[in-house]
C-alpha cells in the first residue's frame, strides 16, 4: 500500500515572457515502509519535490494523497495538522535551535504537538538513550561536532514517531565517517518501519535505498528498482 501517491504534480514560477518549471507532471508512489532516494543535478527539483511531500509547499497543481488523505483538498490548518501527525524532517544543515540545549531541541516538536510534559520527558530520555547521546543532553548545538548535531537532528525528526521521514541531503555537510553513521541510523529507522525519502547527491548512499528516483528539469527520468 502506498503512503504517498502523487499524480500529475506540477510546480512553476511566473517569469517575464513565460514560466519557469520546477516540477513537471510528476507521478510517484512510495510504499509504506519504503526507503526512496531522490537524485538529480542542482536545480532538478529535488528539494521542491521534498517540500511538496513534506506539506511545506502548497503552491502546486495535481493530486497528492498522503496515507490516504487527499492533501490537495485540505485547508491550510488541516494540512499543518496532517504534517504534525505524519512527517518528520532532517535538514542538510541540521537546523538545531542554537539557544536550546540538546534535550530542549528534542523536546520542541513534542511541545508543538501538545504532548503532556511527563510523556515528553519520557520520550526525550528514551531517544537520548537510543541515540547514545545522553551525555550530550545539556550541551548546546555549537558545542557538538557536525555529525553529533545531525544525530540530534535525526532524533528530533523521529521523536514525534512520524510515518514518513523526509531527509534533505542528510549527509551533505558531513565527512564520510559521520555520514556513514547517519546512513546506518536511517537504515535502522527504516527497519523499524518508517518510510524514508531522502534527497542526496551521494550515488553510493542513494543506492542503499530500496529505490532511486532521478529528477532532471522537474521531470522524473525513470523509476528504477535497485
Amino acid at each position: 500500500m502506498a503512503i504517498i501517491e502523487l499524480r500529475g504534480i506540477e510546480k512553476s514560477f511566473p517569469l517575464a515572457g513565460g514560466r519557469s518549471w520546477v516540477l513537471r507532471n510528476v507521478d510517484l508512489d512510495v510504499g509504506d515502509g519504503e526507503f526512496v532516494s531522490v537524485m538529480g543535478p542542482s536545480g532538478a527539483g529535488k528539494s521542491s519535490l521534498l517540500n511538496v511531500l513534506g506539506l511545506m509547499d502548497h503552491d502546486w497543481q495535481g493530486a497528492y494523497s498522503l496515507d490516504g488523505v487527499a492533501v490537495d483538498k485540505l485547508a491550510a490548518k488541516q494540512r499543518q495538522a496532517l504534517q504534525r501527525e505524519k512527517i518528520g524532517f532532517i535538514f542538510q544543515h541540521y537546523h538545531l535551535i542554537d539557544e536550546l540545549k540538546v534535550w530542549e531541541n528534542l523536546d520542541l516538536p513534542l511541545q508543538y504537538r501538545d504532548v503532556p510534559a511527563k510523556e515528553r520527558a519520557a520520550r526525550v530520555a528514551d531517544l537520548l538513550d537510543r541515540f547514545q547521546i545522553v551525555g550530550k543532553k545539556d550541551l548546546y548545538p555549537n558545542q557538538l561536532s557536525g555529525g553529533q548535531q545531525q544525530l540530534v537532528a535525526v532524533a528530533r525528526a523521529v521523536i514525534t514517531r512520524p510515518r514518513l521521514l523526509l531527509a534533505d541531503e542528510p549527509t551533505g555537510a558531513l565527512h564520510s565517517t559521520q555520514a556513514r553513521t547517519i546512513m546506518d541510523l536511517l537504515h535502522e529507522l527504516h527497519r523499524d518501519g518508517i518510510t524514508i525519502v531522502q534527497v542526496t547527491h551521494n550515488e553510493a548512499f542513494a543506492r542503499e535505498a530500496d529505490r532511486v528516483i532521478r529528477l532532471a528539469d522537474g521531470w522524473i527520468e525513470k523509476p528504477a528498482r535497485v
Binding site: M56, Q80, R84, F91, H95, D98, L108, P109, Y112
Partner: protein, 781 residues
Amino acid sequence: MLLGLAFGALACVFGVVYGLLYKPLPFLHSDQLVTVESRILGIPFDTGLSVPLRDELARNAHTLDGVAAYRTNEVTLRDDGGRRTGTLKTAQIEPELFGLLGAQPALGRLFAAEDVTENAARGAILSWDEWQRRFAGAADAIGRRIRVGGDDYRVLGVMPQGFAFPSRQTGLWLPLGFTAAQHERSHAGSFDGTRVVARLRAGVEPASAADEAASIAKSIPELDGAFGNDFRVTVEPLRSLWVGDRREALLLMLLAVSMVWLVTAANVANLCLARALARRHEAALTAALGASPRRRASAAAAEAAALCVAGVLLGYALLPAGTALLRRFDLLPAGTPQAIGIDAPTLALIALLAVALCAVLALVGVSVQRGNLADMIRRGGSRQTAGGGAQAARKTLVVAQIALTVALLFGIGVLLRSSHNLLGEDVGFRRDHLLYAALDDLVPAGAKPELRAARIGELVARARALPGVVAVGLGNMVPFGDSISTSNYTPPGQEDAKDKPVGYDRKIDQGYFAALGVPILRGRAFGADEVRARAPLAIVDELFAKRHFGDGDALGRHFRIGTGPDTPDRELTIVGVVPTLKQRSLAEVADQPSIYQPDPAPPYAALIARTSVDPAAIVAPLKALGAEIAPNEAIDPIVTLDDRIADTLADRTRLNALLGLLGATALLLAAVGLYAVLAYAVRLRVPEFGVHLALGARPRQVLRAVLGHGLRLIGAGLALGLPLAYAFARLLSARLYRVGALDPATLGAVAAVLAAIGLAACWLPARRASRVDPVVALRNE
C-alpha cells in the same frame, strides 16, 4: 532628527540652567552681591526690609561691605487727555546702588547724595531702550524733562545698552531717599516693599551674613517685640531675584532632558549596531580585498562623526525654539540682566557629549567587524547572526531605554496625581461660577476716599443687576486674590498677654459670604446697615474659634484688633463663625485665623460675583460697566476664580506639560528601540522560525514566542526602572501632594502604558515571524 532634538533640548535646558543659576551676572564682582530680605512667619510673601533695619545693617554688619535699598513700581502712562496708554516699570534706588553694582552711565551721570535730599529737583535716569523710545537716542536728552505717572522729572543720565536692574524691562530709575521719620526705630516693624542689595566682604558666605543680619534684627527691640521669633532675615546671592523658585524645576528639567538624551543615544547606538551587523558581510569582503583595520575603523568613525555632527547642528538650529518654549513655560524669566542662550560651557558640554557618542558609535562599528573573515563571508549577508556580545548589548540598550522611560513616566505620573489631588482640595467655598475683579484701579492714585467709595458702591449695585449674576460680594481679601492684609489682635481673655498673634484682617460687605458660597456655621452674616456703619462686629473662622474658645461658643465674645502703629486697637464683638478658607494655595495648611469686619469700601477691594452662567461670559459686561462708571480707569484683572486657583498651580502645570512632552518622547524612543531590536531579531531568526514551523509550530506559537521576547525585555526594563523611578520620585518629593514616592496606582498605570506601547512595537515583527514561509526561509539558508 531624534538625535538633533535630543541635543537641542539638552543644550537649551543646560544653557538656561547655566545662564540662570551659574553664569556670572554683568555686575562688578557679582559673586559678592546678595539680596537681603525678611520673612514673617504666617505671611506667605516677602515683606521687604524696614528702613531702620536697613540702616542698622549698613552701620553694623561686618560681613557686608555696602548696602543699598530699592523699590520697584509700575506706573500708568497716560496721554494728554488723561487716558491710559500703557505702563512703565520703574525702580526707585538709593544712589549707592549703582556703585554697588559697578554700573557706569552711557550718558550724563548717576544719582548722587544731593538727589535724595528733601528739596532736590526730581531727577531720573533712563534705560537705553527708554532713551531710544523717548528721544530717539538724542545726546541732548540730558537735562530735558519727562512726565511719568503725573510727575515731571529731569533726565540726569542714560544707562548703557544691556544694563538691567532689577529687570530688563525697567525703563526708568528714580532716586530713593527716606524721611527722618522713616529712619526712626519705631518704624522698624513697618514694611513697604523696600528691598536691599548688599556686597559681601571678601571671603564671607551668604549664610554667615544671614546669621549676622538675624542677630542685628534681634537687637532691635521694636522689631523683636513685634514679631519675636516669627521674624527671619535671609541673605541670598543676588541672582535669586531672577531665579525665584525656578531652581528645582530647572534642575528637574535638566535631569529629564538628560534622561531623554540618554534614551536617544541608546537608541541611536542600537540602530547603528543593527546597521553594522547587517553590513558585516560587506565589511568582511572589504577586509578580504585588502582594507586595513585602520582604514575600516576610519570609515566607521567618519560615519559616526557625520551622524553626531548632523545631530549637533540640528540641535543648535532648534535652540531658539527651545528657549522660546522655556520662556513660554516661565522656566526662563524675561527680565534677567545676564544674556541667556548659547554660552561656552553649553558649547563645551554638547561638543563633549557629541565626541563621546561619536566614539561609542565608532567603537560599535569597529567591534562588530571583528571575527573570522572566512566565516563571515561564507555565511553571507542575509544570514548574519550577531555574536552573543552584540545581541546582549542590543538588549541591554533597550532595557536601559525602557528603564529610563519608566522612571521619567513615573515621575510625570506622580506629579500629575499630585496636581489632581491639589485641584480636588476643599477650599472652604464653592469655587465654580465665580468671577473675581480687582478694583484697585477704579479710581486714580490719590483720589479722595469719597470718590472711591461712591464708585465701588455703584459698581457693586449695578453688577448685581447684570444678567447671569446671582450674587455679588466685596472684600479686601478674596481667596486666591491679589492682596493679603494681616493685623495683630489681642486674644479674648488675654488682654495682658505680651505676644499678640497675627490674623488675616478681612474687611467685607454683606454679600461676601453669599457670593462665595461660604456657609455661616454659627451666628449670622453682617447686615447692610452694619456694613455701612462699619459696626464693631466680627465674624471669625473655625480656626480662630477653636484656637481661642476650644469647644466653647464664640458668639457674643469680645476681642481687640490692631488698627495701625499710631491708632488705638478696636474692640469687636463676634456675631458669627464661618469655615476656614484656603487663601493662597491649595496645599496650604491653615495656620492663621481669619477675622472678618464689615466695610462697604475696604482698601484693595475686590469684587466677587456668583453667576448662573459661565462666569467668563460676565467679564465683558463687567468691564463695560467699569468703563461707564470710571471712563479713564480700568478694572484689571477680571478673571474666573477657577482660573485664579489654577494659576496657583501654574508652575506645576507648566512643568508637568514640559515633562510630559519629554516623557512622550522617551516613550516613543523606547518603543522605536524595542521595535528595532525585535524586527532585527526576527530578520536574523527567519530561518529558525522556518525550522520551528517545519517542526510543527503553529503560527500563533511563533507569534507568542516573539511577543514573549519583547515582553521579557519590557519586564526587565520595568524591573530596572523601578528603583530609578523611586529615586526620581524622591527627588520630586517636595512637589508631591498626597502621593507616595512609590505610588502603586501610578506604577501600575506606567507599566500598563509601557506594556501596551511595547506590545504594539513588538506586534509587527511578531506577525512577520509567524508568517514566515518555511520553504522560503530554508531555501535562503
